[in-house]
Symmetry: C2
Subunit: 346 residues, 2 copies
């Protein structure tokens, strides 16, 4: 199979990045960590600079027919600061570039920046620059977040150890179910434009989708209980996908327990209404913006019954593979569908 025959779609997002960047070698001693983690780590002194960037494209990452622009601006910042927290670092500044059709009303951009402004207040980051450009159609937002951390406290995703506990914050699948709900109401609206959307009682999943928060509180909590995780990643592409990232990049296997995966009741019930398996939604839904981490077993007491965290499994050796103990106690290989924007296009 010749590499030249591969298409962008076949490579997928992660495959495409590695393929395109395989020739790049770091030349600077100030480049501590480059491509391959939630954020890059740079700088010479004890305090390192941490940098992460994300691009959001209309029609791919968001649908303006049901995403309020203020929420979009807020979420665009959250997605980026979440990557900085995933390094156990503190976000300090962001740059925001937008490309937008000049037919876009100014009020719409004001709404977008209102959301960005709100997120800057909540996460205590400064907007330090950006670029504004016309696009031929639609809206594209590119944000770079910059943070700082002392070197020994920076946590990577490839440093989990065999036997470590696998721990996560929050609950899973909510943002995915919020998206399903919004998509369903959009279809209903298309068929009958006078119909009112049925969104009542689903505040939780809608908020998870439209206005997620980055887990600043978890980083604070880790500092308070004096734990530097052995590895950490933010859950943007689905819990299963991130478990694979930690396991594969740490050259380990992993065993998780289905009944330990935290799923909110609202998410669970809505998944059932949609005839979806709540566990599959939780594992593969994506956009949860929670933190997944590993810690040494010696820290068990600090996490047991700690309301900020759920212990969902442990790391194993590589030959054991990445597995899930399902509810009947049998062990099945974990599958990661991921949340691949490269494959999402119609």
């Amino acid at each position: 199979m010749s590499e030249e025959k591969l298409s962008i779609e076949e490579l997928g997002e992660f495959g495409l990045i590695s393929h395109l960047t395989e020739k790049f070698k770091d030349k600077r001693e100030e480049t501590i960590r480059s491509i391959g983690d939630d954020a890059a780590v740079i700088g010479k002194g004890k305090i390192k600079t941490v940098v992460s960037t994300d691009m959001l494209v209309e029609g791919v990452h968001f649908d303006l027919s049901y995403v309020p622009l203020k929420h979009l601006g807020y979420k665009a910042v959250v997605v980026n600061v979440s990557d900085i927290y995933a390094m156990n670092a503190e976000p300090k500044q962001i740059t925001v570039s937008i490309a937008v059709s000049s037919k876009f009303p100014l009020e719409a951009l004001e709404e977008l920046y209102e959301g960005i402004h709100r997120a800057c207040e909540v996460y205590n980051v400064d907007l330090i620059g950006g670029d504004t450009s016309t696009s031929l159609s639609g809206l594209t937002i590119s944000i770079t977040a910059i943070g700082e951390a002392e070197e020994p406290k920076i946590v990577y995703r490839n440093t989990a150890q065999d036997g470590d506990l696998l721990i996560c914050s929050g609950d899973y699948g909510g943002a995915y179910m919020g998206l399903q709900l919004l998509e369903r109401e959009k279809q209903v609206f298309k068929a009958a434009p006078t119909a009112q959307p049925k969104l009542d009682g689903n505040d939780y999943v809608l908020e998870r989708q439209l206005k997620p928060e980055a887990r600043k509180d978890i980083i604070k909590q880790l500092a308070e209980i004096e734990v530097v995780p052995t590895s950490m990643i933010d859950v943007s592409d689905g819990l299963a996908s991130e478990i694979f990232h930690i396991a594969t990049q740490s050259d380990l296997g992993c065993q998780i327990y289905e009944d330990k995966i935290p799923i909110d009741e609202a998410t669970y019930n809505l998944a059932r209404d949609f005839n979806l398996d709540p566990t599959v939604c939780a594992l593969n839904g994506g956009e949860d913006y929670e933190l997944l981490l590993t810690v040494s077993q010696t820290d068990f007491d600090k996490f047991k019954n700690n309301p900020f965290f759920s212990i969902i499994g442990h790391m194993t050796d590589k030959p054991s593979g990445v597995n899930m103990v399902i509810k009947d106690r049998s062990v099945v290989p974990l599958k990661a569908q991921g949340w691949n924007h490269m494959n999402k296009e119609a």
Copy 2:
């Protein structure tokens, strides 16, 4: 005139950025300079981090019918490191995010990254991260460049002094004439697809348009002659526009001399062929990626007859305005049309 009635087009790029960001206030002591210069300056120690970002949109900033992707990748990096040099800083890392239709051939992206890779080698910067996403149509590239400089050597654009010499590197209007030439041949090709493009003998202007270089050598030269300019800016939006930025932001006026504006012979002759005024092309063409700086008159001897620089005028007090002494020795107010991508859309 109510502000609410303004459209994106009326505000223009700079107006839009200030309008959208006027509510943002810096909260972090580590934020030394945010929006409003070529790059932001951040960090606590003596060595500051300098950050700049730019977005390039297909159909707005580049036309793939005549821009080779390798050159586009190269230029996308150059545009960003040029902003870092304009702070008298050294670029060290970049992040590159792209949004691209999945119908784009992989080979095309490989070409793009080949150009990015080449620029990383030439400018000695590491590619440390990025994001790859689908777009519904076309290609968007967002690059953030990160550099470093010792605080006292960082040069801003708003710190020129009355009486300072106004100095520039290189020559002007070449990239603009290269673009005119490529656009003309595109129209010829549309009318008669078998016609061969007439590009012979125009290597200089084509290279200025398709493969510009950032003036790393000028920063080195300034260090060698031991001059820290009193202000500096890179010339991306047209020489006149950048002169206005320095003058206005430094709260000064300026007087330049038309016969001192450096224009290459190839640019001059081609402008004449196109029935364009070479001075207008040089002042308003844009995309020159040269450096415009001010220095104290006491440094005159270091710049007189220095082949790296042209002295084109001097700063005056604000009430004198921004003027040009034209070839018949009369004084006219300088006009900046700029190179405004927000107004370029058809």
